[in-house]
């Protein structure tokens, strides 16, 4: 290993361009003759579309085209689909309603696209869009899932009776009920997991062009997975065949899940670029992002957890209603099922679990995966239940958890997952120690003297990452495999390009992926270039989400490096007249072990390309590819402790200490991993006390800008204490588990457990805004 190998805090290679303003995000690209799209969006939550009068808009300055949904479907553009089939417990397939990229008959949420105006400037396009007259016949609407499945609720899609998309279950209901019935204590709660808007700082954008000479499309877009985008745009939306469509996801300014999906706007830009003959760019403004980006979470859950007289969990019964919005987004169906209910065992040994999930259409923006996706909902539920149970039973909160920890691996839960490795006691111990849990009462007394209410909260989370074994997810309904690909191209001079199907939009892959090469061959990371985000360069890939780029993406690179190393060793053995098994590569040199015979790495690479003296029958060149399909999910886990002070006069909560002790398996670059945890925790604090998407009685999104949607700012959060406790993942060659989502998963329950501890009222809903905390304090 060199100075820049696995475990080194290597500074990021990508930073140079970002700190000098030389990054290239989608909106930074220009094309000759480029025009701009503006969408005509529904102002109503639910309405039937009547006549669309375009004539005024068509005459507006700079407008070249006004296009609507009937033209789009008339040109054969297909409906948007959800790519994960879930079957209800009665065996019937999920009830998916039709979703056209531009609405044709009905609009189903405020922001639903009806038409698009193409003009010579963004302002002219917007003014043109305002001039499009749409006759709406307003229909009754519903925005809450529980209401939507009730009798008499407005119906959104004819396919989904009572707006229910599926009624799914996992686990053994009878066994869970029996176990709970025989329990010494039962904790019962209703838990709301608030709807969030992901809000990457770069709004979504698309720049589409059509080359009629080549009959070929190019799309620059803000995507976490450009190959999946191309596949879906080709196979399902029939925009263009795959070999006639190049998708480029250049620098992307954050995603957090919201840039996984293929949205109507990209489809429309591609279609419109061919229809109008000019390149078409669309850049979302922030309010459009609030209206039309996929939202996250939005669960209402009733749960009961039984305990025996010693505090051991006997059974867990969960009934969840999940709001999926007006249409089924690309992976929406998997979030409240296989990414949620399969984690309900938490870090605990629970024999009997049953979970029922109903997903529901409402007149709101589509809901899909947002950082953590299902796992924050599961963790919040489990850890609020555990905390509450400890309080109710008068038991020590940490000890109740410890008593129920899984301690032997592999551990098969009753909800599919098989935990492969972990040490939950170690992360709990570390978190309790770092937070000086034992000294809390003293700090509470000191706070009381200042007139503040101090509270402490704990959360022990587990998640499933590295998604996922293709055959396994295929059997559960996924429409794609979730492997990853890599290609390692060694140049004749010995420098290396790694082409990866993973996509970096903040994660620092250009640095960490290069560290694998440094580890392997002892080359400086400067000699390695990471190539990603372009379907013309990288053959295929599944992209970045679900904390998978380490455990899956880097495993693919590792496999390809294995092949490169083996071939390089054969060449060197031939040149040095040694046995390939005796060749070692270190510090940029290829040596015969135990001798002074050696070659420079670059000499071996050059030999591979000159082909003058290769082993008999060997092809020239040094380039290898690999596909890696994971053998299991990975299971990052940890313990978080949050300490707060509440101002009883205003209800304002100050997070005064936050400790994270995580087990992510092998860590390539601790600096980057810590950064992922910091960001994740902040989003979790955002969910717990600041953020919430709210639709009003008219179905209007009230929180449609930063004036009303409360983003965490620097003075809302403290500095964090982060530590790592490694148990290696046995499922992949590097022992990695993944770190991208943990912070957002583990932190909300820690914070709410701390606030409810401080105020002595357990009845508190996220986000715990000052007004809500004040009301809870005053019994309102």
């Amino acid at each position: 290993m060199g100075m820049e190998g696995i475990g080194a805090r290597v500074l990021r290679k990508e930073d140079q361009r970002f700190i000098t303003g030389k990054g290239h995000y989608t909106d930074d690209f220009k094309m000759a003759g480029m025009h701009y799209a503006a969408f005509v969006r529904s102002p109503h939550a639910h309405a039937k579309i009547g006549k669309i009068n375009k004539s005024a808009a068509e005459k507006m300055p700079g407008v070249v085209a006004v296009l609507d949904g009937k033209q789009l479907t008339g040109d054969g553009i297909g409906n948007l689909i959800c790519g994960w089939m879930i079957h209800s417990k009665d065996g019937s397939p999920m009830n998916m309603g039709a979703w056209s990229a531009l609405a044709t008959e009905f609009v189903r949420y405020v922001g639903d696209g009806v038409a698009v105006v193409i003009a010579d400037s963004p302002d002219n396009a917007r003014t043109g869009a305002e001039a499009v007259e749409v006759d709406y016949k307003v229909l009754p609407h519903v925005t809450e899932a529980v209401v939507a499945m009730g009798s008499g609720a407005p119906q959104l899609h004819p396919e989904a009776k009572n707006n229910i998309i599926y009624d799914w279950e996992i686990g053994d209901k009878e066994a869970a009920e029996k176990a709970i019935a025989g329990s010494a204590h039962v904790t019962e709660m209703e838990i709301i997991n608030n709807r969030l808007v992901p809000n990457p700082m770069e709004p979504r954008a698309a720049l589409a062009s059509y080359d009629s000479a080549q009959d070929h499309f190019t799309l620059y877009t803000t995507s976490q997975n450009p190959h999946v985008a191309r596949l879906v745009l080709s196979a399902f939306y029939q925009v263009a065949p795959e070999h006639k469509l190049r998708v480029i996801a250049p620098d992307v300014g954050g995603g957090f899940g919201s840039k996984i999906y293929i949205y109507p706007e990209e489809i429309v830009c591609l279609w419109a670029s061919k229809k109008t003959g000019v390149p078409v760019k669309w850049t979302s403004d922030r309010t459009e992002a609030f209206l039309a980006d996929a939202h996250g979470r939005d669960h209402v859950t009733k749960a009961r957890m039984g305990f025996d007289k010693d505090g051991r969990i006997t059974g867990f019964s969960v009934d969840t209603v999940a709001n999926l919005g007006a249409y089924m987004s690309l992976f929406s169906s998997s979030v409240p099922t296989y990414l949620y209910a399969t984690l309900l065992s938490g870090q605990y040994n629970i024999t009997n679990i049953h979970c029922n999930v109903r997903t529901v259409y409402t007149n709101t923006a589509p809901v899909d995966a947002y950082r953590g996706a299902g796992r924050p909902e599961a963790t919040y539920l489990v850890e609020r239940m555990m905390e509450t149970a400890a309080r109710e039973m008068g038991m020590d909160r940490a000890e109740l958890r410890r008593k129920n920890f899984v301690t032997e691996f592999p551990h098969q839960t009753p909800v599919i997952m098989c935990y492969d490795a972990g040490d939950y006691g170690a992360t709990l111990d570390a978190a309790l120690k770092a937070s000086d849990w034992a000294g809390f009462e003293k700090r509470k007394a000191a706070a009381a003297r200042k007139g503040k209410l101090r509270g402490i909260g704990l959360s022990c989370y587990i998640e499933a990452c590295g998604i996922a074994p293709s055959a396994a997810v295929g059997s559960l309904g996924a429409g794609v495999g979730l492997w990853e690909s890599a290609e390692v191209r060694v140049n004749p001079v010995g420098t290396i390009e790694i082409l990866t199907g993973s996509h970096s939009h903040g994660q620092g892959h250009e640095t960490t992926f290069a560290q694998l090469v440094s580890e392997r061959f002892g080359l400086p990371t400067d000699n390695v270039q990471i190539v990603h985000g372009d379907t013309d360069k990288v053959q295929f890939g599944m992209g970045t989400y679900g904390s998978r780029s380490g455990a899956v993406g880097m495993s693919a690179i590792t496999k390809a490096l294995d092949k490169v190393e083996a071939k390089a060793k054969k060449i060197a053995a031939h040149l040095l007249e040694a046995d390939a098994g005796d060749i070692v590569i270190e510090n940029g040199e290829v040596k015969v072990a135990g001798t002074d015979k050696k070659l420079g790495w670059h000499e071996v690479c050059l030999a591979a390309y000159t082909g003058h003296n290769l082993p008999a029958g060997m092809e020239p060149g040094l380039k290898e590819g690999a596909f890696y399909d994971p053998t299991n999910f990975t299971f990052p886990a940890g313990a978080y402790v949050c300490e707060v002070e509440v101002d009883p006069d205003t209800g304002k909560t100050e997070v005064v200490q936050f400790v994270a002790a995580d087990d992510f398996g092998t860590i390539i670059n601790p600096m980057i991993v810590e950064g992922q945890v910091h960001g994740g925790i902040t989003q979790g604090i955002g969910q717990a006390m600041l953020e919430g998407a709210i639709y009003d009685g008219n179905g209007q999104l009230v929180t449609a800008s930063y004036m009303d949607y409360c983003m965490p700012r620097a003075d809302d959060v403290p500095s964090y204490q982060v530590s790592h406790h490694v148990t290696e993942c046995p499922g992949n060659p590097l022992g990695m588990k993944g770190c991208g989502e943990a912070g957002a998963i583990g932190s909300p329950p820690a914070l709410i457990n701390a606030i409810t501890d401080a105020i002595g009222n357990n009845n508190l809903t996220m986000p715990a805004t000052p007004a809500r905390v004040w009301a809870a304090l005053n019994g309102k």
């Binding site: 930073d15 700190i19 709004p203 620098d251 992307v252 983003m711």
Partner: protein, 159 residues
């Protein structure tokens, strides 16, 4: 109606013809090709668009280009001295004060302004609390601010 404007941008005299409604950020990005300055919101809150006009940090999405006529503008592209990075740029890199990079230009421009103001108003210790309060107008979704605060502490020392 368009009008001619001229200003100094990153030490270079530039001229342009803009509409009355053209924002400074549009002039920088679309007319001058300086795409380092970003737009992240519509309500003047995120700070991705912060540049310096006449030595002070301003939100270039909330200032008409014509209103900046005759001004001296510095953007993220003009912060380094040739290939020598500004100490604040170096501090952001060395402290991992950025992830996706989108808020970074505005964040760095605000950070430089913050330190400049702090120094001109008497200096003293730039506390974490003060840095966090001063970042009210810059939103980052990736870093959780932890390393941004550390970067600004380091950058302030080096400036």
């Amino acid at each position: 109606m368009t009008s001619k404007i001229s200003m100094t941008v990153n030490g270079r005299q530039v001229e342009g013809s803009v509409e009355g409604r053209t924002l400074l950020v549009e002039f920088l990005r679309e007319h001058l090709g300086l795409t380092g300055t970003h737009v992240g919101c519509d309500t003047s809150q995120c700070g991705a668009c912060v540049v310096h006009v006449d030595g002070k940090a301003v939100k270039s999405c909330t200032l008409l280009a014509a209103a900046a006529d005759g001004g001296d503008v510095v953007t993220i592209e003009g912060l380094a001295d040739g290939t020598r990075l500004h100490p604040m740029q170096t501090a952001f890199k060395e402290n991992h004060g950025l992830q996706c990079g989108f808020c970074t230009p505005g964040m760095i421009m605000s950070a430089v302004d913050l330190v400049n103001r702090h120094k001109s108003n008497g200096g003293g210790k730039l506390t974490e609390e003060k840095i966090r309060a001063e970042l009210e107008g810059n939103i980052c979704r990736c870093t959780g601010y932890h390393n941004i605060v550390k970067a600004i502490e380091a950058g302030a020392k080096a400036m």
